[in-house]
Structures are given as C-alpha cells and as structure tokens.
C-alpha cells in the first residue's frame, strides 16, 4: 500500500489535527480489554506489595514451632487466626504470601531491567555496527543459550553470596537474549532508514545517532519485551528458588515456598497450590499487559 494518508495538501487546512502518537496510544490502551485486565492484576499486586505491612495479619518472619503446619481456615482444624494456615516453621502462610509479592515484584522489575541493559546495549551495538561486533555478539548469544542457567546461578551465588541483588543479577544475566534479538533486528532496519542518513549528513556521531535517532524508536518494543520479561524473570526466580539457588530462606519467595511445601504436598496441597496460584496470577498479569502493549504498539493492531 503506497500511502494511507488522506489528509493531502489540498485539505491540509482542515480543522481536525490528527492525534499525536501519544494520544493514539492512550486511546488504544484504554480500549484493550486484555491490557486492562493485566494492568489491574499487576496494579493490585503492586498495591499489596507496597502496603504489605498493613495488609498482612502477622509478621511473616515470626515463627511458632508449636503451631506449625496448621491447615487453612476451610479445612478441618483451621482457625481464623491463620486464614491460610502456617508453614513448617509455624509462620503465617497468608502473611508470607503477601510479603512474597515484594520479592517477586522486586526481582521481576530488577532482573528485567538488568536484562534490558545488557540486551539492548548488545542488540543496538550488533545491529548498528554489524561486522565482527555483530558476529561476536551472536556468538555470545548462542553460548548463553547453550549454557545451563542453573550452573551460572550456583557459581554466582557461591562467589558473591546469596542476596536478593545477586538473584536479580543472575536472572537478569540469564534473560537478555530476547531484548538482543529484537533490538538487533530493529536497529538493523532503522539504521538503513533515511533519517539516520540525514543525521549522519548533519554530522552526528554514532553515539548521537544511537541515542537520539535509534533508541527512541526502539522504546515501544523494549517496553513490550520488558513486560514479558517481567513475567519470565518472576518465573525464573521461582525456579531457581525452587532448586535452592535463588532466594535464601527465611525470605518469603513463592518458588521457595513451593519447594518447601513439596514434601507435604499430598496431605497439605495448599502449601504448593497457593504460592503457585500467586505466581500464576502475577505472571498472567504481566503477560496480558505485554500482549496488550504489543497489540497497541504494533501499527496494525492485533488482527489486521
């Protein structure tokens, strides 16, 4: 299709100024059900995370060994004191789930940001400079994809010592490839567009071109990937914690809670099911948001 612009010169003085990209974006945003659902879930969870101390009925770290492994209120032997029962150290399960939002969200955002930094930097470099830089980065990509993350996680946890920051670093270092692939392709495409040539002809340096011309055009796809990576990072953290090389006890991480509940899962399935559902909701929220943002930012919309 050669052009889809109907405001031609002859009618250029018509009153209706077309919407700015920002306005169109917002309009589409609020018309996208999936996005709205996802955003509400995320918003709700973020609110829970921020106000965890106010919402949680108990201190998530206070143990009471004599009242350990209490069942939730709807089961036989449950009490209103501990709505969802207690864990193997007698800590209130609901409170731990509530505080778990903090862990997941911090790690999700942190790790997705670390991945973004690495992936976008490498992607833009590979796409913009091409040549051997591109080859070297592709090699790195393949090597990264072939290396088991578990190994890296174990080593790093050992070298640096376990902390939430280390987990953020590890998950981030393991999840930059998606950013790289997308930004590399986009940069290669944009690099050849005329406005880049125009900037070059105006004497702009490579750095100036990347910052001023290329990155703004990558922003929307980066945001979309970020949203997806948010979910992926949260799952990755839970897997690492499940395997015991992620978040350290006694910090309440949902993955760790699943691992702890696994032993008793046949008798106290809620120990596994509840944190799993929390994870599921959070990640589905992030994914719906990601899907929504992608639909909204891709020029064609979802279907056409």
């Amino acid at each position: 299709m050669s052009t889809t612009d109907i405001t031609l010169t002859a009618v250029e003085d018509s009153e209706t100024t077309p919407l700015t990209p920002g306005q169109i974006f917002r309009q589409r945003l609020f018309g996208h059900t999936g996005f709205l659902i996802g955003a509400s879930i995320i918003l709700a969870i973020v609110v829970v995370a921020i106000f965890a101390p106010l919402i949680a009925p108990h201190d998530p770290y206070v143990q009471s060994l004599s009242t350990r492994m209490l069942p939730p209120v709807w089961s036989e032997g449950g009490s209103w004191e501990h709505l969802l029962g207690t864990d193997q150290n007698g800590r209130d399960y609901l409170s731990r789930l509530i505080y778990g939002t903090r862990v997941s969200i911090t790690i999700g955002i942190g790790a997705a940001t670390v991945g973004l930094m690495i992936g976008v930097t490498l992607g833009v470099m590979a796409g913009y400079f091409g040549g051997w830089i591109d080859h070297a980065i592709s090699f790195l990509l393949t090597a990264q994809l072939a290396l088991p993350g578990l190994l890296l996680a174990m080593a790093l946890v050992f070298i640096i010592g376990p902390s939430i920051w280390v987990v953020i670093g590890i998950v981030g270092v393991l999840h930059w490839t998606y950013y790289l692939v997308v930004t590399r392709a986009a940069t290669q495409r944009i690099r050849n567009l005329d406005f880049v040539a125009a900037a070059k002809a105006s004497g702009a340096s490579s750095r100036q071109i990347i910052w001023h011309e290329i990155l703004p055009n990558l922003a929307s796809s980066i945001i979309v990937i970020f949203t997806f990576e948010l979910g992926i990072a949260i799952l990755a953290e839970s897997s690492l914690s499940f395997l015991g090389v992620g978040i350290q006890p006694p910090i309440p991480s949902w993955g760790l809670m699943i691992a702890e509940g696994k032993q008793a899962m046949f008798y106290r399935p809620w120990l596994v099911v509840l944190p799993g559902i929390c994870l599921f909701l959070l990640v589905i929220g992030a994914n719906l948001m990601g899907d929504g943002l992608r639909d909204i930012t891709s020029p064609e919309g979802r279907n056409e």
Partner: protein, 543 residues
C-alpha cells in the same frame, strides 16, 4: 445492456480511530469492449472500489450499494461461494497493484497459472499448460516453457507483473480490472504491457478498467475517464472531455500539476556555463562494488553499483541524474554526501577531499533530501526537534535562537507554523517532504543533493515540491543535484543532465541537448518510452 453497472457504492472502513468512508456514492457503468480509466490521487479510493466489486475488501471494511450489476445479473444477490464459483476469475479478473507480492512465493509459476482452470474443470492439466505457455508468450516473457517451472522470486518485477496478467487471462474474463498494473515498472516495460492490454480488449471485446494515478497513461489508453477524489467520483466522461475540458476544480488542479516533457523548457540558470565556474562537488573515477549473498545458502554475488563515474556539480546549477532503477544513482548520492566510501576514486568538496572534512563542516556544505518522506523523518521526534537537530549537532545557538531558525526554515518551505510541535505521523507526504527540505536548509548549505525527492508523492504534491526547490534555488542561489527517473521532472527543472546506465554515466550535457537530441541509445529509449500527456492529441490528429 451494460457489462457493469454500479450505483451508489459506499465502502466504509472501521479504523481504530473511527470509521472511514473510503468510497462514497460511486456510480459507474461500462460497456463490453470499452475501457474506463479511473484516476485520482493516492488514497482516493480507486483500489477500494475495485476490491469491493471483487469482494476482496479487508475484513474491517463493509460495502453497500444500490445496484451492483454485472452483465445484467445482480451481484448482491449472490452468496459468497456462488460468487467465487461463477464470477471471480472466469467473468471478472483482476490484476493487482503490487507485482512483487501478488504471486505465492513457494509455488512455481506453472502451478499458479494452471491451478484455477484445472480446479474448475475447464481444461485438462496438459491443455492448461499449453494455454499458459501461450499466454506467457503473448505477454512477452522469453522462454515461456522454461519459466513454467520457475518460482516468482526468480523473475524480475516486470516479469512477475506480466505473469500476473497472463494468469488472470487464463480464465478469459469478460471484464478485466487492472489496478495500477505498471507502477514499479520501467517505462519501457510499462508501454509493452499497456499495448498488450489494448490488443486483448480489441481481440476479445473484453471490458477493461484501468486504475492509475498517471494521467498520461490514462489519457493514452482509455475511452472514458473517471476522476476520484477523497472517495468520491467527482467527474466522469470521455477521455477527451475530462482531460481537455475538465469541469471539476480538482481535475483542473491535477492536470495543471503534471510535469510535461513538451512544456516550455526552462531557462538554464547559467547559459553556457563558463569552464572556470567553481565546482562545489567533484567526483572522479568513482567505483563501488557490493557483495551480497542471496539467501542463507546462496553464492556470493558482486554488483558493480558504480563503475568509473566522474561528475561535477557547479555552483548555482541544477544537475539532474537520471537512469533506471538500480543504475547506481542512490549509491552515487551517498558517496557524494560522504555517507559511503567509494572503493576507488575520490570526492572533493570545494576542492578538498571529502574525507578530510569534519562532519560539521561537511554538513554545512551539502545536505541531502531523500526519496521517501515516510522514512526520512524520525517518527519519534517532533518537527521542532527534527528541523533543529543539525543546529544542535553543531552546538549552534541557544534554544530560543534555534526555535527562531526553525520557524524561519518552516516559513521558507511554506509549512504552517502550527505544525511546529507535531509528529511526522500527523503530516501528509508533501508536508513531510517539506520538513525534510527545511531540515536540509537550516544550516544554509551550499548544495542540496535530492535523491528522488518526489517519487513517493502525488503529482500535485510533486509539482509543489519541485516548484519550491526551484524557488529556493532562485532565492538562495542553491546548488542542486536531483536524482530522478522521471524525464518530465528533468525537463522542468534541470540545467544539466547526466544519464546513468548500469553504474556508468553514459551521457552528460545540458538538459535541452540531452532531451531533444540524445546521443546515446539508452537515453533515446528512455525518452521514447516516457508517457507524454499530450500524446492523445497527436493520436486524434491521426484518426
């Protein structure tokens, strides 16, 4: 009885920001054997009209009409399956606008050509094959038998377009709709295809609807012309009436905007340019090769984009570089701008090697204007930022003085000031091209290098841009190098012309000399094939 009778056709598109009436109240009739041209600028609804008739509208579109009769039969009464079986293909055929993508890339030409007839049981496999080869031969494809086993990507754009036409003709349609069958084709090929369509119409009494935005083509080839504007059919009549006695304002404007090869030649800026005139840019013996690999496993291929090209651009003149697609024009421009390095030869600006010039200095000497106004502006930046960018890069002035400069530049290119904070996506193509020119002018360069500055634009817009360039040149004494493949453009604004063919400059001289008395074969062919709007008049005289 008319072959086709459309009454009050409406097509509405559901767009994210509200419904768009792409076609409004269009009424059309066509007699058997008659040819109708539909003209109008891009986006005026020409294709939508045709697609509505073929029931190929995009999903989001709805169509209504008071009557939609074909050969006396009301098409609206027909269900989709019946329409597909009876009408689409054997009765109405359509040739699409995009030759590069209209053939399925994973099947052979032969299969695509024969499948419809065979599937309908009209011909046997072997008969269909014979007919296909015959038709390929008719549309001028060399070695039609061999071509049957080739894939679309193995053919050039023009060949694909011809395959499309042959494929449509396999079913012997009574009505052929050709939607810009020749855009993206060389003028020489274009002529050949239009001739073929004419022949077929005469031979078979086939009705033809020819959609185009090229008035010259329509004038030459059709009996009747309909003009569309913003979804409405503003004028309809015989080609004679419409093109030489237009009634509607828009038609008049459109006609006035057409660049003409036979109009009054412009007065060259410097008649008989003296040899000591200062050279703004001179290029000597430029060579540039590209190595590319076709596909993942393909062999390496070397393309000589520039082969020993020498050229100079003198102060104050307008030099046009013409040549067919792929002849190396853009490559030359990039090298002249210092955006690409030649393998051999050198480029000097005001006598100094371009490589020794720092970016900022080079930028103040020469600025580019590119072909496609849609990609030459950063979609994420506001106009004020885009236009002032070269100043920012040079570190010139403060934000207030830059803003003043931007306003000034916008005024020069006649852009309304209210657009200063708009994004490119809010602008029309012509406006965008003005922004690109404003950006090029803001540093007050000595020269502009314009790489097909108007080829993506409508004729009316094109005229405005060319006029603007001419104007600026007159006012500011700009030196201009314009790359184009349109002879008419050359005729309108160039002082001198250089003709490129396969990476070489095959002819160079003053515009009038080259256009009127080409000394090179290729130039002569190029000129002969260019459609001339005035040509119908000659025809008439002959008749």
């Amino acid at each position: 009885m008319s072959l086709l009778d459309i009454q009050n056709l409406d097509v509405t598109l559901a767009l994210p920001n509200g419904p768009l009436k792409a076609v409004r109240d269009v009424t059309l009739t066509l007699e058997p054997g008659e040819s109708l041209g539909i003209v109008g600028e891009s986006g005026s609804g020409k294709s939508m009209t045709a697609l509505a008739l073929m029931r190929l509208l995009p999903r989001s579109a709805t169509c209504e009409a008071e009557a939609l009769r074909f050969d006396g039969q009301e098409l609206r009464d027909l269900g989709d399956p019946a329409f597909a079986r009876q009408i689409a293909g054997p009765r109405i055929g359509m040739i699409f606008q995009e030759p590069m993508t209209s053939l399925n890339p994973v099947y052979t030409i032969g299969r695509q050509m024969t499948e419809a007839t065979v599937a309908r049981g009209l011909l046997s496999e072997a008969e269909a094959r014979r007919k296909a080869i015959d038709l390929l031969d008719r549309v001028g494809i060399p070695d039609p038998e061999g071509r049957m086993n080739q894939f679309p990507h193995q053919m050039s754009g023009g060949q694909r377009q011809r395959v499309m036409i042959a494929m449509t003709l396999m079913l012997d349609p009574e009505l052929l709709i050709a939607d810009e069958p020749t855009t993206a084709l060389d003028v020489t090929v274009q002529a050949q295809i239009l001739d073929l369509l004419d022949d077929l119409r005469r031979e078979r009494g086939m009705g033809l609807i020819l959609i185009s935005h090229d008035l010259a083509v329509v004038a030459e080839r059709t009996d009747r012309v309909a003009v569309m504007y913003l979804g409405e059919m503003v004028e309809q009549g015989t080609a004679q009436e419409v093109l030489y006695h237009p009634q509607h304002d828009y038609t008049k404007a459109l006609l006035a905007a057409i660049p003409r090869l036979d109009g009054p030649a412009r007065v060259p800026a410097q008649e008989a340019a003296a040899p000591e005139v200062e050279k703004v840019i001179s290029a000597t013996n430029l060579c540039r090769e590209f190595h590319s690999r076709k596909g993942l496993f393909g062999p390496k291929k070397t393309v000589r984009a520039l082969d020993d090209v020498s050229l100079e651009l003198r102060r104050g003149e307008t030099l046009a570089v013409i040549g067919e697609s792929g002849s190396g024009k853009s490559t030359l421009a990039r090298i002249l701008l210092g955006l690409d390095l030649p393998d051999a030869g050198d480029v000097r600006m005001l006598g100094r090697p371009v490589l020794d010039l720092p970016g900022a200095e080079r930028a103040s000497l020469v600025q580019p204007v590119f072909q496609d106004p849609y990609t030459s502006l950063n979609p994420r930046r506001r106009l004020s930022e885009i236009i002032s960018r070269p100043l920012v890069l040079r570190g010139e002035g403060d934000s207030a003085s830059r803003l003043a400069a931007v306003k000034d530049a916008m005024e020069k290119v006649r852009l309304p000031g209210r657009l200063i904070h708009a994004y490119p996506s809010q602008l029309s193509g012509g406006q965008r091209q003005r922004v690109a020119i404003a950006r090029a002018l803001i540093t007050e360069p000595e020269a502009l290098i314009c790489d097909e500055p108007t080829s993506a634009l409508d004729v009316s817009v094109q005229a405005q841009i060319l006029e603007l360039l001419d104007d600026l040149r007159a006012k500011m004494g700009l030196t201009c190098l314009i790359i184009t493949h349109d002879m008419a453009v050359v005729h309108e604004i160039a002082d001198r012309v250089a003709v490129m063919y396969q990476g070489r400059v095959v002819e160079e001289g003053s515009a009038s000399a080259v256009l009127d008395h080409p000394s090179n074969d290729y130039t002569a062919r190029l000129l002969a094939a260019a459609p001339r709007f005035g040509a119908t008049r000659d025809l008439e005289v002959v008749q």
